[in-house]
Symmetry: C2
Subunit: 208 residues, 2 copies
């Protein structure tokens, strides 16, 4: 019956509004009142159902221990690790190091999948201009160590000690790193001189 779905819809909406309005999640009894539900146990019941369905996360025994999935502010805040393609060395990859607020950038939560780390790099230079990525853009990168042929990746050149943004083409024991700029030539490097940092999954540009 659609009645149930309606009630749970109501609850979700109420929780969202409550958090937005007050800054902290509602208690079970807040929800009870706000959604005109007769008993706290009914609220509990439906919260459990919503939790199982993945709409929210509950912390047992904790007052207001409700976290709306997707509603979180921080999930989408990813570290801005530095610049790429400028010959600037990328620091040792910080798994989950605390970043200063200024070194993070907010992206759509859909970029983040909770499994693999995601980070951003500030693009220097126009080597990927034909892929519509220009100097000053931010690329969102999903951390991974392997890449498929032709994928756009951030690679660390061990010898040169620099990071660069290119398309990835393995050719025997060499690797062709192909810029997307008709005026630039591909780079051929030894396979073991290349360390893939991640794959580009998004681009973000800001205008002044």
């Amino acid at each position: 019956m659609a009645n149930l779905r309606q009630r749970q819809q109501d609850i979700l909406e109420f929780i969202g509004g409550f958090i937005d309005g007050k800054g902290y999640p509602p208690s079970v009894r807040d929800i009870q009142e706000g959604c005109s539900i007769s008993s706290t146990s009914v609220v509990d019941y439906n919260l459990e159902a919503l939790s199982k369905m993945g709409y929210l996360k509950r912390s047992k025994e904790i007052s207001r221990g409700i976290e709306l999935i997707g509603h979180r502010l921080s999930t989408a805040r990813i570290p801005l690790l530095g610049s790429i393609s400028a010959g600037q060395p990328l620091p040792v990859f910080p798994q989950d190091q605390t970043m200063l607020e200024d070194n993070t950038i907010e992206v759509d939560p859909s970029f983040v999948d909770l499994q693999t780390p995601v980070f951003a790099l500030h693009v220097k230079g126009d080597s990927m201009i034909d892929a519509l990525i220009k100097d000053g853009d931010y690329v969102v990168i999903k951390s991974q160590e392997h890449a498929e042929t032709g994928e756009m990746v951030a690679v660390w050149l061990i010898q040169e000690e620099e990071t660069t943004l290119k398309r990835f083409f393995p050719e025997g024991d060499k690797i062709r790193l192909q810029p997307e700029n008709s005026s630039m030539s591909p780079i051929f490097v030894d396979a073991k001189n290349v360390q893939i940092k991640g794959r580009v999954v998004g681009v973000l540009r800001k205008y002044k």
Copy 2:
């Protein structure tokens, strides 16, 4: 003494991190443990001080009733109003209408300045390809009704009943809407047939 300031600084930081991590504010005892404070009353004491100084808001008698001032600014969820340049009509501008979760997109907070509404549009077509904006990208638009010469704007063509993304060039009582695509010609329209919806302040692209 700087000791006080240090402790309160710690508390503020802890609260922020806690909220980011768990999705709900910490209890007094969470703070006590997290900041290695001997007594809950000390936490209460300092929370009260921080509250008086305006760093946070407390709700009396409410578990985890702490709201960090300014912390919610990191939420920058803006409405995704529709598509542009596809001849699809843009609905009446919803100031602060409740949007379905699917119709919003998360952007960096720096896009939003609390004064002017900001929204996003899904780009259809390649009329701005030379500006490195391609089909499928999202443009972040700051709502405004006037534009400077040459600015990239989203305009509503009243007669044609469609929205389009172009650069703006007033020429007498006509307006030249210039695509950034060498294979496309500018459009000349009557000034009073044009209603500027906003200016492009950002671009967001997602790769599969």
